[in-house]
């Protein structure tokens, strides 16, 4: 089954298949946290807060590096289900790939994510929020991470940045995270790495379909990276 990106198709919210939703990024949302950010993709809104590096319980500390603790909360399930635990694990593993934990041994870096509204592409939105909050908290990182979600509907068409309804109706979904940083001094744009740091794919799809999802996810991530750079520049131009 050949998967295509067909332009004229319109989705429930009027977008084309390859059109990603409006992005919104607010920095230093919270007063208490060391770093915080609210990232929105259309109707999906996630608030991220970061504390640390800070001291932690003796039984948890690692003498060589900082531990990364992730808490993921959705309003519909305050006590947390397996899904939230899975997300926490994925986010923790992803962030461990870019946070320089060796610079702060015996400490904990705590990332707390609160879902305010969920309309699809939740994990991608949460990762984008987490990356921005970590930047705000000045946690040392080798790059930021940018993520994008893709869905493949029953017809085989690929949809970027799916809504909740689109994800539920999809045959397969994918979430892809890439590192992004400026590769040359004075570069205007961030370069999003070709290598995928994290990919979570669900549902039956062909290899070709998977590669196409990855490619589309990469483009979505590039858009997120460009936006993140713009947001960063505005937030720090008071310096």
């Amino acid at each position: 089954m050949k998967a295509e990106i067909t332009a004229p198709d319109t989705r429930e919210d009027g977008r084309s298949n390859s059109s990603a939703r409006a992005l919104r990024c607010e920095r230093e949302v919270l007063h208490r946290a060391d770093g915080s950010a609210q990232w929105e993709q259309g109707g999906t809104k996630v608030l991220a807060a970061v504390y640390g590096p800070m001291s932690t319980l003796a039984r948890k500390e690692d003498p060589e590096r900082a531990i990364i603790e992730v808490t993921f909360k959705q309003p519909e399930s305050p006590s947390g289900t397996d899904l939230e635990r899975q997300y926490e694990h994925i986010i923790q593993q992803t962030l461990a790939g870019v946070i320089q934990t060796a610079m702060h041994p015996r400490t904990a870096i705590s990332v707390i994510l609160q879902v305010l509204e969920h309309d699809g592409s939740l994990l991608a939105c949460a990762l984008n929020a987490a990356s921005t909050a970590l930047t705000e908290a000045a946690v040392p990182m080798t790059s930021i991470v940018v993520s994008a979600a893709v869905a493949q509907d029953r017809k085989g068409d690929l949809l970027i940045d799916p809504t909740r309804a689109e994800e539920e109706a999809a045959g397969a979904t994918g979430m892809f995270t890439f590192t992004a940083r400026a590769e040359a001094p004075g570069a205007e744009q961030l370069t999003v790495a070709e290598d995928c740091l994290t990919s979570i794919v669900r549902g039956p799809t062909t290899t070709e379909g998977l590669l196409q999802m990855l490619s589309l996810g990469h483009k979505g991530a590039q858009r997120a990276a460009a936006f993140s750079k713009m947001s960063l520049t505005q937030a720090y131009d008071f310096l």
């Binding site: 919210d13 409006a22 920095r27 230093e28 915080s36 309003p75 707390i112 309309d119 936006f227 937030a235």
Partner: protein, 435 residues
């Protein structure tokens, strides 16, 4: 929190002159803002920098056997580790349990919510409402913020209509079908005499009292008291943990203040609900997903990017040149959505409908100052002083930024006149935003 002895003593000393460390008068409350969710029953309350959100999740299930005609209210209060490094997460913190008890007392036991109205099919199906309160940012006075956000969520909540199919009643169990909002308009809850709280902190031997304490004031206080008043102006409860006692002479005054503040907050809450209702209806018609954008009290920057097609190569965005000396946004083709030029949105005063204690001039002036000065925040390296700020070009779906006239701030320094001018400017800006 680790408050130093210096700060503790200073707070006490300043209070003897009726000065608070954030510049408020002892009986000035912080600015309260309420944002209501468009797609889910949620209410986010900010009191100054304190932020609490409540979401209500309805569950259709069997009733408790001893109350077959009533739905239930279940309260969860989470002091999220997001709000303070001292909160450990997990849902059984002592402070969280205290809050749950308070919410149960004033919202459940008081019968403020009509539970019989939550019954769908007696003995078989009732609505159980999970009221999930989450503290997002701790800057003092969590009690008032939690209760206000729970009350606001209850007022904005709509319970779905349910269709009961008794055609297969041979089995004795009816089938229920929950109707989506598109099919049948969901209904508001039946609410009576809703309670709102006002918290005071006491210092020394009780000689200094302040309303709506910040976290540092709470740390320096020797006692805290919360007075809960309902819309009937009845005192529902007075909560006082251990600590110094309230001087008898002050009790009546505090109750009076609490009553006034509760009715002001309820009045403003009703206005916010009306506006919310209007935008909820129109959003369904137009299929836009945007709720009024709420900016945090401390937010340093907000940026937005309209939706755009990513199948083409992503264009490098033209960032504003540092040395152009111009305050204008250089975005070409901003009406062409497919290119997806970004539009910078500067932190502005239009943060939804503010709930303010109208009487306090000092707070108003401070707020007005803040709003006006905030408008210039990101212009730091751009426009020189004598040029008015250029208004931002509108992009589809975003509202026009009202022009912030810095010129009027120069000139005469008559404080009285300036307060009036600031008020006028603020009112004009709010009107423009709402237009």
């Amino acid at each position: 929190m680790h408050i130093s002895q210096n700060d503790r003593l200073f707070i006490l000393k300043a209070l003897k002159e009726d000065i608070r460390i954030d510049g408020r008068n002892p009986f000035d409350s912080r600015k309260v803002t309420v944002t209501l969710g468009l797609h889910n029953a949620s209410a986010t309350v900010s009191m100054g920098s304190t932020r609490v959100t409540t979401t209500i999740v309805p569950v259709l299930d069997a009733p408790f056997p001893d109350r077959p005609n009533e739905g239930t209210l279940r309260f969860n209060a989470e002091y999220s580790p997001m709000a303070s490094s001292e909160f450990e997460g997990g849902r059984h913190s002592e402070a969280g349990m205290e809050m749950i008890r308070l919410l149960e007392q004033v919202l459940r036991n008081s019968r403020a919510v009509d539970r019989e109205a939550l019954c769908v099919l007696a003995g078989q199906k009732v609505w159980h409402l999970d009221v999930n309160v989450t503290v997002l940012d701790h800057a003092g006075n969590l009690t008032d913020a939690c209760l206000l956000s729970a009350v606001a969520a209850l007022m904005v909540f709509r319970r779905p209509e349910v269709e009961i199919n008794t055609s297969n009643s041979g089995s004795g169990v009816a089938r229920t079908l929950v109707l989506s909002p598109a099919v049948r308009e969901p209904l508001p809850l039946s609410l009576h005499q809703l309670p709102l709280s006002t918290t005071f902190a006491l210092f020394g031997a009780g000689e200094s009292i302040v309303i709506d304490p910040t976290s540092r004031e709470e740390a320096a206080a020797s006692g805290v008291v919360t007075i809960i008043v309902n819309t009937n102006s009845d005192i529902c409860a007075i909560r006082k943990a251990s600590g110094v006692g309230i001087p008898l002479a002050q009790v009546q005054r505090l109750m009076h203040l609490a009553s006034n503040r509760a009715s002001e907050m309820m009045q403003d809450l009703k206005e916010v609900l009306q506006q919310h209702e209007a935008s909820r209806v129109s959003s369904r018609v137009r299929r836009h997903a945007s709720a009024p954008q709420q900016l945090g009290a401390t937010s340093r920057s907000v940026n937005m990017l309209p939706p755009n097609d990513i199948s083409a190569t992503v264009q490098p965005y033209q960032l504003q040149e540092q040395d152009s000396g111009s305050g204008e946004e250089t975005s070409s083709g901003e009406d062409d959505m497919s290119v997806g030029n970004p539009v910078r949105m500067i932190a502005s005063s239009a943060e939804g409908v503010p709930i303010s204690s109208h009487a306090q001039e000092a707070q108003y002036q401070e707020a007005a100052l803040q709003h006006i000065l905030t408008g210039g925040r990101s212009q730091r390296k751009a426009a020189p002083v004598d040029r008015p700020v250029a208004s931002k070009k509108t992009a589809i779906g975003l509202q026009k930024e009202p022009q912030i006239d810095l010129d009027f701030l120069e000139g005469d320094t008559d404080p009285e006149k300036d307060v009036l001018d600031m008020r006028k400017a603020l009112q004009t800006k709010n009107k423009q935003w709402q237009a």
